[in-house]
Symmetry: C2
Subunit: 257 residues, 2 copies
């Protein structure tokens, strides 16, 4: 998503050229390219698919069919992790605890299907500014409270610095998640202001914002995480530029932080 302007074959070629060993894919470009073809493309290049983004939106009608499809796509791509963005308040509702309960129920209903296909579910808490319209799960503690109802190898969490950096309880939650083997995915983005309208596309290039990213990496490492580190930037400015250039710049920024 960081370089969504790059068609999948170009993305794969640039990753190979730059020595980037794996990529987190999003469903839309994968489906547009063809899931089996995308799987073959990435596999033949020797790249890992680190995660598939995203399932979730459990408070919207049709969630079950869509999430089963997402699990199937993850399995086809050969990744073991499906990231879940859980969804906000149902249309017309003001019941945030009710939305969270509905999300937990949906994950419970989905977990056996994911297990059969060898796919882990990674609940991603999103920044509280998305609580009403994208994700009622706002903190790592909330994500863990749901994940802990299931075996760690089946349901865990995504730790994304952009969403969690402000929370003074997050470091303890990271330690708890790591000790239980529940950190299934770790993503980096920086916090820059002013936020753009709609706030979705304001994620900053690594090192340009307010987040102590080396500190977060150390925190996750101390918690025992040894998996891939993804960079996930939604940024209109980056998307408007040459994709290969942005990818190179992002790799440099990643290594620098």
């Amino acid at each position: 998503m960081t370089v969504k302007q790059l068609p999948l074959p170009e993305l794969v070629a640039h990753c190979v050229r730059l020595g980037i060993p794996g990529i987190g894919l999003w469903r839309e470009p994968v489906r547009a390219y063809g899931t089996e073809d995308a799987a073959a493309l990435v596999r033949d290049a020797g790249l890992a698919v680190t995660t598939l983004c995203r399932g979730g939106f459990f408070t919207t009608d049709g969630w079950e069919e869509d999430n089963r499809a997402a699990i199937d796509e993850a399995a086809a791509l050969g990744t073991d992790t499906l990231v879940l963005v859980s969804g906000g308040l149902p249309e017309g509702s003001r019941d945030l605890p009710g939305a969270r309960a509905r999300i937990a129920d949906a994950i419970g209903a989905l977990a056996p299907y994911a297990e059969e296909r060898g796919v882990r579910l990674a609940i991603e808490p999103l920044h509280p500014m998305f609580a009403s319209d994208r994700c009622a799960v706002s903190t790592l503690d909330q994500a863990l409270e749901i994940a802990e109802r299931f075996p760690a190898e089946r349901v865990g969490v995504t730790v994304d610095t952009y969403h969690l950096w402000w929370d003074d309880r997050a470091p303890a939650a990271v330690a708890r998640a790591g000790a239980a083997g529940r950190i299934h995915s770790f993503q980096l983005a920086d916090w820059t202001t002013p936020l753009p309208a709609g706030v979705l596309h304001g994620r900053g290039q690594l090192g340009t914002g307010a987040i102590d990213l080396p500190g977060w990496a150390a925190l996750v490492e101390r918690a025992g995480y040894t998996g891939p580190v993804e960079v996930e930037l939604f940024n209109d400015g980056l998307w408007a530029r040459d994709g290969a250039e942005v990818l190179e710049e992002t790799l440099e920024a990643f290594l620098a932080v």
Copy 2:
């Protein structure tokens, strides 16, 4: 601030006409009108000044002089409560815990001066989307952790629905704050999306958004709060309209929720 397009004398006249018994004032219009003149205007109309907004920004140079002036202005206006927006990260810093420690120290340095002048300090947690640039105090728990270092009648908190509605720990914190007599101010605004660029001016008219406002009012009431209820909307759309009309509409919305 909800109707900042209204000059102070018109605001006071409309409040009297509509039976609104008190107003929370902001420093800029008060200073522009003259603090003593503003105090006389409001007092002669029989209105209470519920709070003065705002002191704070403790992570910026010059905070001490500015906050002493704010305390003097609050005392002159006859309000017992100065709302504090604590400030974000210092320029170039990524140390959020350090910013919070600096804020606590500043409040400690300021408290005796406020006490001498009969002014309570009300620490307002702001939504986490403001953590870097406006307020490193993001949750009611964090605000209470600072306030609890001081006597309750001197340092408390502001409960603002807009900033706290998403937090599943906030209800317990409201109960704890109320039991200790630390809720010094209660403000209403609704959460509406999409957020505008910069996110500061996106507060929704009561009843138009995602927040269960009657539920929040009941929560604060159960916690023992009997003080004024303020409506504080920052909204470019409302500011562009006729102020008296917006004031009437806001009163209706307030009574309806």
